[in-house]
Symmetry: C2
Subunit: 321 residues, 2 copies
């Protein structure tokens, strides 16, 4: 069987994909991430969503060649464990996701870092498929990154690709990670929301929180930001521009170090705003690119929010026939 | 013959080394870079210095397995040409260094980027020899860098490793490259001198220029900076600390992207100040390293100012016997 499954474990939702030997999508599904109960409930939900994707593909989940998981937190692929998932409770110590999900589904399970597998999916099948070297940038609550060099992921000793923690202003804004001046401290949706709340409390006018309330949200989702921008909200535009400039500086720095052929920009925030925001990021990046006679192409991710699940599936080894 | 020659072409001096098959130093020599006359004079001087190194090694230069050159500017290794050497006149267009030096010496010549070959030398024989991945940082008039991943140089499309143009302060100081906020705009010796002159003209007291005059120099050499620091010169210490912080931020950003095992710090300024300045850079870097439970080792380059010449020699292919 050369049909593989993939799961993207997110802080709010779980997505699954079933792909053929070439990576072509056969079926997909999604469901909410259980926020109570702890790891066993999350793993049960992952199995259920994967079974839904298999059903959509018309295959038996137990007959898949394997299932690959793109996970946040610290992934130990050899041990099959995940720890330190910030947005989920009970995931501080090593959760044996490989064994438990494998038992639940009756197939072998491999684990990978969520951003790395999403980068690999874009490199193999998405916006990066024409390039042998690329930087993947995923702009959401935080900003994650992945690096492909000579057609292979570069992960260093496991912690490479942290584009969100490239410094854009030494001594600058406090980042959610506790350090100062990281790009994510300006561009992460969490940092953008924190600043919007602070400036709102200081009396700056903005429609952001009214739109949030109207939509029944308790946080500034990408959709809330987009609606505010459509309405011409000055504060929202100012904070998006600030984020774009930070992204441009960090990506420019990465390009100066790595001279990759392409930068692929994905993640919920970028996908919501599409090509126009990618063009703004490219312009901001160009202010900092040293070898500016031959800059990298900068493109929007094309696998959308299924990139992580597809990338997980691509991690499943196929027996050569 | 498995004995190879290497030449490091610098803006003020030319250095040459002759090494055995294992890279062991057999002889070395140096001479001033001719600042008048243009490329033919520089190439003649390169040949003369290489012959001196061969004589010191007790070998005939014409019998070397080849000569490798580490050059500033844009190096086209395939064409054997060098262009855009900023500090030398007449090097704007492609100078056929490979052919002309090869004719002068009667051996084949290979070309490489000066900082890349110096990084390769440290990786093979110097402070980086126990690591499979490393970042080389060369702190001098500017700040150059080289990257080794999985034991091989990563050069991207030819322009990778520009650690000096990693952004440390978006919208910050003007860099000699014309952009804003690059690390080199704070840490390059040229930028440090420009700022010292500006602050001196504004009335800040400093012994830097008096020491320069006493030594018969027309610029602030590393030795001038070191003497001023020894005398407790406050402005000199302030500018060195500013440079160290910029180096720390840029190196921290590079570590967050690449998760290398080691950072090797060389170049004239770092070599003059030695291990204590490397320790200060490490401390400044740690403020920004995301995976701080497993930071890279940070070490002083051990090949001294011969690293470039030795790295050039290592570029000469050896026939397997």
């Amino acid at each position: 069987m050369s049909v593989r499954g993939g799961i993207d474990l997110g802080g709010t939702k779980i997505q699954a994909a079933v792909v053929d030997s070439a990576g072509g999508l056969l079926g997909d599904a999604r469901g909410p991430t259980p926020l109570t109960g702890g790891p066993p409930d999350v793993i049960a939900a992952m199995a259920a969503v994967l079974r839904d994707a298999a059903a959509a593909a018309g295959v038996d989940a137990g007959k898949l060649a394997g299932v690959g998981v793109g996970s946040p937190g610290d992934v130990d692929a050899d041990a099959g464990t995940v720890s330190n998932v910030v947005n989920l409770s009970g995931w501080d110590d090593g959760v044996p996701v490989g064994d438990q999900l494998g038992s639940a589904l009756g197939v072998s399970v491999v684990l990978g870092n969520d951003v790395q597998v999403a980068t690999e999916a874009e490199a193999a099948l998405g916006a990066g498929r024409d390039y042998s070297s690329m930087l993947g940038v995923f702009w959401g609550t935080g900003v994650g990154g992945g690096i492909v060099l000579d057609g292979r992921s570069w992960v260093g000793r496991g912690a490479a690709g942290e584009i969100g923690h490239v410094v854009v202003r030494r001594g600058g804004a406090r980042c959610p990670c506790g350090r100062r001046g990281c790009m994510e401290a300006y561009a992460g949706r969490a940092a953008m929301e924190a600043r919007a709340r602070r400036l709102g409390a200081q009396g700056r006018r903005t429609a952001l929180f009214q739109i949030m309330d109207e939509r029944g949200r308790d946080r500034l989702t990408s959709g809330v930001w987009a609606r505010a921008i459509e309405q011409g909200d000055m504060l929202a535009e100012e904070l998006v521009e600030r984020a774009v400039r930070a992204l441009g500086a960090a990506i420019g720095s990465a390009v100066n170090l790595l001279d990759v052929e392409a930068v692929i920009v994905g993640g919920g925030f970028a996908l919501r705003f599409g090509d126009p925001i990618v063009e703004r990021i490219r312009t901001a990046m160009m202010r900092h690119v040293f070898a500016d006679e031959r800059p990298p192409d900068v493109r929007l991710a094309t696998l959308g929010d299924l990139g992580g699940a597809i990338g997980g599936a691509l991690r499943v080894p196929l027996k050569s026939s």
